[in-house]
Every structure is written in C-alpha cells, then in structure tokens.
C-alpha cells in the first residue's frame, strides 16, 4: 500500500473483532460481551439493537474505553482508523474522546454538568481539542448551538442544563459531541427519554448533521423501528453476542434469526389492530447464568432440541449473517 486512498478503502473507520468484556466478581469473570465483531466505514450509520443487558452499551463504551468499574476487556481487538484503541495511553485516549469520536448518551441531564452554564461546557470542550482563544471558542459555541437548532443561541449560552427542556438538552449534547469535528459519533439511546415529537426532531438533527459533516454513527437502541430510520446496517445483539447482522432493508424484509423476527413483531404499530400486544415470552437470560446452547432458545418460538446443545455461530444467510441453526441459508 502506497497511497492514502488505498488505506482509506481497506481499513474501516472502526473495527471491533472478537470483543469480550467481563465483570470480575471474586475469582469469577462474568462476560457481558462474548465475542462481538463490528465494522463501520467512514460516513456509515450502523445500528446496534438489543434489550437491556444484551451488551450493546458495553460494546459502545469499550470503544471509548469508558467501561464501568469492575468491567474490563478480556480479549478482542478494537481499532479506530487502523490504530489499536486498546494500546493507547491516557493522553492519546483523551484526545480521541470528544475529539475524533463524539458520544451522546440517553440522559443529557446526567451527562451535562448541572453547575456550569452550557456555553462554558461547550467552550471548555472546544478549547480542549482546538487551539482557539476564549472569544473564538465562544463564537464557535454559539455557532454550534445555532447548528443544532437551539433558538436564541446567544442567550442560551448562559443557561444551565436544568433550564432547558429534555429535547434542548439533547441538542446541547449533540453540539458538544460534534464540537471537534468527529469522524465517529456514538449515540447510546439518544432519544429514549424523549417524547415522540421531540424524538423525531432529534433523529432529524442527527441525520442532518452526519450527512453535512460525513460523520459515521454507531446508533444504539432497543427500538428496531427507530434504528431502521437512520441506519444503513444493523447488528442485533442478544446475551452478549451478535445474533444477526446485515443491511437494514434485508434484515427487515427477511429476518433470519427468530429473535429479530419476534422483536420486529413486538413493535407497537398504528395499523388499526387492537387487542393483546405481541411480546417475547420470558426474560433475557441473566449474565453468568446462560442456558446451554443458544441463549435465546428458552424464549424462541422455533427452538428445536439441537438449539439447547451448542451455541450456534454466526454464518452467512443469503445477504446477512445470523447465529441460528434454523435460519434459511
């Protein structure tokens, strides 16, 4: 490889291979992420879908090396623009966090500092990554607030997070996340705490901004329908593993894994049907006490005896990958 262009086409922006993350509990390690592979190209939107406890957020936090206390990456590789993330020191990591990789969380009220005006939080973030003076940083902060659709940005610079509505706070989070021209945005349930109307506004905003600045997005949600709105590709996680992965259209048109199929059926729709809602019976398995074989087998509508013996590996099924013995090939 000689030219930069060749590198750009062969090395993905973000590459996660065989990621295992475990919580240490005495001598035992409970794995919450058990071998996840994920690939994001520049400018691409990948959705990561799963129930609480499926390991989707932990996978995302691993990229930033922001795991909660007690959790650690036990094996696997994460590379960003070809650079090994697990090799980086603190200073280098901090340059990437909020720099080339921006992040937005579910709850902007806890992610923002309640005691500092949003303008100051923005200028701090800007000056941490860019060589700008106080005045220039303030101008940039105002520009960013306007960019994310906050009315009266000049006045809002002085506002404290609690003075803003949930939707406005999430806009501030997005402004913070894009303040240093990231090439990757990790969005962890960014609209879950919001009303549908505000959710639509924020989804629109994320989509507009990522197109305008060609930002790749790793979009995490438990709502497949929401993910389908923005993602090019989707990975569905269950019990710490990817169980289905592929192009969003193919995945919706012909879900190969029964979990994906049942999940799609659960989405409440305004199609005039009334009566009992579809559900997935039972509960997600408890990490550390996984059933033998396929972890979804106890809740699966199609399970056969072989499903309770060995855990099925991810295999190509037509246009997408699925980890199910019964998936059509």
């Amino acid at each position: 490889m000689t030219g930069g262009t060749t590198v750009a086409t062969t090395v993905p922006l973000l590459h996660i291979e065989g990621l295992h993350v475990g919580f240490r509990n005495g001598d035992a390690v409970r794995h919450v992420v058990r071998g996840v592979d994920l690939r994001l190209e520049a400018g691409e939107v990948v959705g990561l879908v799963g129930e609480s406890g499926s390991g989707k957020s932990i996978t995302a936090l691993s990229v930033m090396r922001l795991l909660p206390p007690g959790a650690s990456i036990t094996s696997g590789r994460i590379s960003f623009r070809g650079q090994d993330m697990l090799d980086l020191g603190h200073a280098e990591l901090n340059r990437l966090r909020g720099g080339a990789i921006g992040m937005i969380f579910q709850d902007p009220l806890t992610a923002l500092n309640p005691a500092i005006p949003v303008g100051r939080q923005l200028t701090d973030a800007i000056r941490a990554h860019q060589p700008l003076g106080p005045r220039a940083a303030r101008d940039r902060a105002k520009e960013l607030l306007a960019l994310v659709g906050i009315p009266f940005p000049q006045e809002r610079l002085r506002a404290y997070p609690h003075e803003l509505s949930g939707g406005m706070r999430q806009r501030v989070m997005i402004a913070l996340a894009v303040s240093s021209n990231p090439s990757l945005l990790i969005a962890d349930e960014p609209t879950t705490a919001l009303d549908v109307t505000v959710q639509a506004q924020v989804m629109d905003l994320i989509d507009r901004i990522r197109r305008e600045f060609n930002i790749a997005v790793l979009f995490i949600s438990h709502n497949l329908e929401l993910v389908a709105e923005i993602a090019d590709r989707v990975t569905v996680m269950y019990a710490g593993r990817a169980v289905e992965s592929g192009d969003v259209h193919a995945l919706f048109a012909s879900p190969a894994h029964p979990y994906t199929r049942q999940l799609i059926r659960c989405i409440p729709r305004l199609d005039g049907t009334s009566g009992a809602m579809a559900t997935i019976p039972g509960l997600p398995p408890i990490i550390g006490a996984l059933p033998p074989g396929c972890p979804f087998a106890p809740r699966c509508e199609a399970a056969e005896p072989q499903c309770s013996q060995d855990e099925p590996p991810m295999r190509w099924r037509g246009k997408h990958m699925a980890a199910c013995y019964l998936a059509p090939s």
Binding site: E51, G149, V198, Q201, E225, L270, G272, M277, T279, L283
Partner: protein, 334 residues
C-alpha cells in the same frame, strides 16, 4: 357537565396553577407568573373502561393524573368521586377514595423502596388497607400470581428484579388496595420494546377480569391505540381531542393529533416522518397550539377554541373544525 351514572369519576373544569417563584426583586415589584399546568379539563372517566391520555412532556397529563389520585389538590374546578366532590371528602370517606384510586409510576427505581424486600413492600400496602397480619402472606402470594411473578421473589429486593418485573410489583402494590380506578403514568416507557407488551397485556387482563377502570398515560400512540376504549389528547393543559382511538388516530380532527401521528417512527419509510417545529416562548393568547400549527389563522390568535363534538363519540378543540360542525351536533357527548 353533570355526573354521569356510567362514570367512575367525573372531572369538571379541573385546573392546576403553579406560581413560578422568581427572585425577591420581582416578587416585590409584583412580577409573579402563574403557569396553568392543567387549564380546565372536563371529562367523565367511564367505569370499566381504559382511557388513554396522550401528550408531550409538560402538557399537564401527569399533573392531571396526580389530581385524579389525590396526590395534589386541584386549584380550580371539581373532581367528583361517587357523586361527591373530592374537596368535601374527609376522614373515612377520604381514606376510602384514596385506596379506591391507585397509581402505577413510570420509574420503578424510585417508586419502590430499594431497602425493602418485595414481601415488605406488598405487606405494608396490605397493612395500610387493613388486612390483618394473619392473612397477609396468603394475599401477597395471590397478588404476585395475579401479576405473573413467581412467589420465589418474595425475599428479593427491587434491584434484583428486571425493569418489567419491578413494574409488575408496582402494579401488585396498587392492587393490594383493591382499587376500582388505576392510573398508570407511562408504565412502559422505560421498558424494552420486547417487554412493553407484557405489561400492557397485564393491564388489559386486569381491566377485563376485575372490571378495573384504567387511565393509561402514554406518549406512545401505538400502545394507546391498541388497548384503550377512549383516547384523550392533551396540549397546553387542555384536552384538544377526545374520542374512540379508531377514529381519533385514523381520522384526527386536531392538527396536534395529526402532528403526533406524523412523529411516530416509521422505520424503513424514513422520509414519511414529519417534524413539528420547536415550541418557543410563553403561552400565547388564543389557541395554545397556534405557533406550531401549519393551519393557524386570525381567530386562532384571538380565541381559545372550545372542545366541541365532531361526531357522536369524538370531540376536538380546533377553530378549523367548528363553524360547520357546531350546528350539526349540539351536545358534547365525549
């Protein structure tokens, strides 16, 4: 509006006003500001029905719920329970009302005491309801069965349960009081999509088997459409549209209801989703929705539209609908 024989509870022009506390200087200058969280809601809550209450944060739906349950008094208007005004209830009558109307909260982390076991949480509710100690254990197990929780969870703490299981405990605690009206404030919005249906189905079963009247507050129109007998859409402290979900959600008469429908995620049909403009500034005179409404005209900026019937079981508060319909259907039946 008179008391309806079929009504479990009747709300008559119910209001809740909060005074915004400003600095001392403003208060001395008499510059105080009142916020009308609920601004004149009239509605019978039909016995044995599931009423869906829909609207954005800040529309007053949770404040209305708290007034229905008696957690906060109304600042104006009347709530009628068993033909009596809530403010006239005292002593035993008040206690009877308070146990007859129960609430299920959105956040199961903060509504269940983290330091008490499930057994204690339910036992305390039963004690409050006057169930003698001897009969409690049996009743607790019956309650758990009723909400689909295995009695092995009796000795567990709330954090040892999943979100869906905690919400079931919240429902069991409400049922311990043997209520006839249950107010569920966003009971599934913090749950995974895969588990939401389980809780909603449980509420449906309780409605069918116990004849329990339910007020279901949700911002998810699809959930409301699915299980409710009647849906009320709130905006700016008022009901802007009410009717049976089939009509309201398939042929809405208020532009705000239409906007809510347009905002529902449509998955792969990405471009179909329309975005409502951001709400800015103080409440305007006239229709509260005017600044976000694509159809607003002069009248909307002057007069607040009344909630008037569109058809037999359907009413809307929008000037666009009214001049024609007013003669056709004289009485609001919703």
């Amino acid at each position: 509006m008179k008391t309806d024989a079929a009504a479990q509870m009747t709300l008559h022009d119910v209001r809740k006003t909060y005074r915004l506390r400003r600095g001392l200087f403003d208060r001395l200058r008499g510059r105080v500001k009142d916020v009308n969280a609920v601004d004149g809601v009239s509605l019978p809550i039909r016995r044995g029905a599931i009423l869906g209450l829909v609207g954005e944060s800040g529309c007053g739906k949770s404040t209305l719920a708290r007034m229905i349950v008696g957690l906060t008094p109304a600042s104006g208007g009347d709530i009628l329970w068993g033909g009596k005004r809530l403010r006239d209830l005292h002593g035993a009558a008040w206690r009877e009302y308070r146990s007859g109307v129960q609430m299920v909260f959105q956040d199961t982390h903060s509504s269940l005491n983290p330091r008490k076991r499930i057994r204690t949480i339910l036992g305390e509710a039963l004690a409050a309801h006057g169930v003698p100690r001897a009969g409690r254990q049996e009743r607790i197990i019956a309650l758990l069965r009723q909400v689909g929780i295995d009695p092995v969870f009796l000795g567990r703490y709330p954090h040892e349960l999943s979100g869906g299981q905690r919400q079931r405990i919240g429902i069991a605690r409400a049922l311990a009081m043997e209520p006839s009206l249950l107010v569920a404030d966003e009971p599934v919005s913090s749950l995974d999509v895969s588990l939401q249906g389980q809780i909603i189905n449980l509420l449906r079963e309780l409605n069918a088997s116990l004849g329990l009247t339910i007020v279901l507050i949700s911002h998810d129109l699809a959930v409301v459409a699915r299980v409710c007998d009647q849906v009320a859409v709130m905006y700016g402290g008022r009901i802007v549209e009410i009717g049976d979900p089939g009509t309201v959600l398939s042929a809405p008469s208020h532009p705000y209801t239409q906007a809510l429908l347009d905002a529902v995620p449509r998955g792969l049909q990405r471009r179909a989703r329309k975005v409502l403009p951001v709400e800015t500034g103080d409440d305007p005179a006239g229709c509260r929705f005017q600044r976000r409404c694509a159809h607003a005209f002069a009248t909307c900026r002057e007069q607040s539209p009344a909630l008037l019937a569109v058809s037999a079981d359907h009413a809307a508060a929008c000037h666009m609908r009214q001049p024609v319909k007013r003669e056709q259907v004289p009485e609001v039946t919703a």
